[in-house]
């Protein structure tokens, strides 16, 4: 099982002291956070993509390439790559390039983006979000698998005799996850291709995630990729920890109360009971996280959101220390002991290469 963190790249004022990091500070901080994720033994760092304030991450491959150069094992991913407003040709090129430079340490999570005004800036319409995601991904999938592509669709200039370069490393396209909070069509898309499905698992109650994953698993089997419990599932999650759970609650509350998205809404206590957010001791985080398996089944990737809502760098690094030292080692052991042998791990470049060599041998 893979463990990691994902960042939405928000630049938010720290509500406890009124300080707002500059874009430059926040960008340098994210590199420090990613490097520390590797230092504490996490597997994955995933970065969001946004084209509007208060977010900085408009160019994820630049940031991930820079991180790749300063890390050895960390798998670099996205949370999410906008499959709607980006040109699939550019995604194919950029991430194949990142794949080569990082030595295959890259996968992607596709998302639609839910910020209405962004779409027209890129000549698109949010009302066509699902058809865009479906058509654009179909093209991206083809570009990575066919050397010369002839293609025409509804949303993009046709392609004649086009080859996306560089070709994927070793001829193995990066593994793709499809992320969606509430659209069954995207679970269906992930199942159709035999790709991974990632549930945001932050903003909605667990019952909702459970139904989305169940649909994905059922359709994964329907399309002939294996049994439902062999589908590739990832979950988000949100935690804040201190040794003493009361300290965690006290310290996190002002960040929660003023957070973008859910701030000034439900109480921390309500949100903790209604969603998978866990604020408490490392032991509580371990217990809650192990519980996820009970409603989604054995899954392959767990990403936590740590660096948001104006939390200072020092605090985020401390959270990473707790995650790496106290939480993830226990989770690794426990999840591994529970997982049946026929349930696969998430595909990596190495595992996909090995499989390809076995097929040709």
């Amino acid at each position: 099982m893979q463990f990691g963190i994902f960042s939405v790249s928000d630049i938010t004022t720290d509500p406890t002291n009124g300080q707002t990091p500059t874009e430059h500070e926040r960008i340098k901080n994210i590199v420090t956070i990613a490097k520390h994720a590797e230092e504490v033994g996490l597997d994955v760092f995933a970065l969001g993509e946004h084209h509007n304030e208060p977010f900085f991450s408009s160019s994820p491959t630049t940031t991930l390439g820079y991180i790749a150069a300063q890390t050895d094992k960390l798998l670099l991913s996205t949370a999410t790559t906008l499959i709607t407003t980006n040109d699939p040709v550019k995604i194919a090129e950029d991430y194949a390039m990142l794949q080569h430079l990082s030595g295959g340490r890259v996968d992607l999570m596709m998302g639609r983006g839910n910020t209405g005004p962004v779409y027209p800036w890129f000549g698109k319409d949010i009302r066509a979000g699902i058809p865009l995601a479906i058509e654009n991904y179909a093209l991206l999938h083809k570009l990575w698998r066919e050397h010369v592509v002839d293609w025409s669709g509804k949303f993009r200039t046709p392609l004649q005799s086009f080859t996306s370069t560089p070709r994927p490393l070793d001829g193995i396209p990066p593994f793709v996850w499809h992320g969606s909070i509430r659209s069954p069509e995207i679970a269906e898309q992930a199942a159709f291709y035999g790709d991974g499905f990632f549930a945001n698992h932050i903003f909605w109650p667990k019952e909702h995630t459970q139904r989305m994953i169940a649909l994905y698993r059922e359709r994964f089997a329907h399309y002939g990729h294996g049994d439902p419990d062999q589908a590739i599932v990832g979950l988000g999650g949100q935690v804040f920890m201190r040794k003493n759970s009361q300290d965690a609650v006290k310290e996190f509350r002002p960040y929660f109360d003023n957070a973008p998205v859910y701030g000034h809404g439900p109480s921390l206590e309500d949100f903790t009971s209604q969603t998978p957010l866990t604020v408490g001791s490392p032991e509580q985080v371990i217990e809650r996280t192990l519980g996820f398996r009970e409603y989604v089944g054995d899954y392959q990737r767990q990403l936590f959101l740590l660096d948001h809502a104006g939390l200072p760098l020092k605090t985020v690094l401390e959270q990473l220390d707790l995650l790496g030292e106290e939480v993830v080692p226990v989770l690794r052991k426990e999840f591994a002991s529970l997982k049946p042998a026929h349930v696969p791990d998430a595909p990596t470049h190495a595992s996909m290469l090995l499989k390809a060599q076995e097929v040709t041998a």
């Binding site: 699902i130 058809p131 479906i134 058509e135 179909a138 069954p184 069509e185 269906e188 898309q189 199942a191 159709f192 903003f203 909605w204 109650p205 909702h208 139904r211 989305m212 169940a214 649909l215 359709r219 399309y223 998205v261 859910y262 701030g263 000034h264 809404g265 439900p266 309500d270 949100f271 209604q274």
Partner: protein, 195 residues
């Protein structure tokens, strides 16, 4: 066959004349009819409704109420009139109801206020809102002012409107098949057709 009647009351005080009107309408509707009645007091859901607007998902109690409204064969919706219109709480609740949940659903609208001068709020505010949601609003809307609850209101004028409106609602419910709610997780298309 038992049909499902859901009653939404946006009264705030205790006891509430809005709830009183809702109860009288409900009593008139269920008289001689086989209805399973669910009453939703929006006051109890006020925080949940605000939180849903902010977070994008309904807490459990609100989810239950929204599911009940979506699955209802008939709806009675009663609000106090505040500042020339439905109350903000009433509107906020219907703002988080799925936009297709009320399509072709028989709805009886009713309101309360201090004086009869507010009565047309039913026609200029509630009826258009439910028309937008493509509900079937019965012709008789029921308005009750403080006068109607007074000791000398024995002429039965309010009561006759309640009876008429309720019978209109019952007739519309009877004209339709029981409501079935589409499961959002049950896909009806194959992905190949989406491609």
């Amino acid at each position: 066959m038992t049909r499902k009647l859901v009653v939404v009351s946006a009264g705030l005080s205790q006891p509430s004349s809005t709830r009183l009107l809702a109860d009288q309408l409900t009593a008139a509707a269920v008289k001689d009819n086989d209805f399973d009645v669910t009453v939703i007091e929006l006051r109890d859901l006020a925080h949940d409704i605000a939180n849903h607007l902010l977070t994008g998902f309904p807490p459990a109690a609100l989810k239950e109420a929204l599911d009940a409204v979506a699955g209802a064969d008939g709806l009675i919706a009663v609000t106090p009139i505040f500042t020339a219109s439905y109350s903000g709480l009433f509107k906020s609740f219907f703002d988080v109801v799925d936009k297709d949940a009320l399509v072709d659903k028989p709805v009886l609208i009713a309101a309360t206020a201090g004086t009869a001068r507010h009565s047309l709020a039913l026609e200029h505010a509630l009826r258009p809102m439910f028309a937008y949601l493509r509900a079937v609003v019965v012709p008789t809307a029921v308005f009750a002012a403080t006068d109607d609850w007074g000791a000398d209101s024995s002429d039965g004028y309010l009561q006759s409107r309640i009876t008429r409106a309720a019978s209109e609602l019952v007739a519309e419910v009877g004209r339709r098949e029981p409501v079935t709610v589409v499961d959002p997780f049950a896909l009806t298309v194959d992905f190949k057709d989406l491609l």
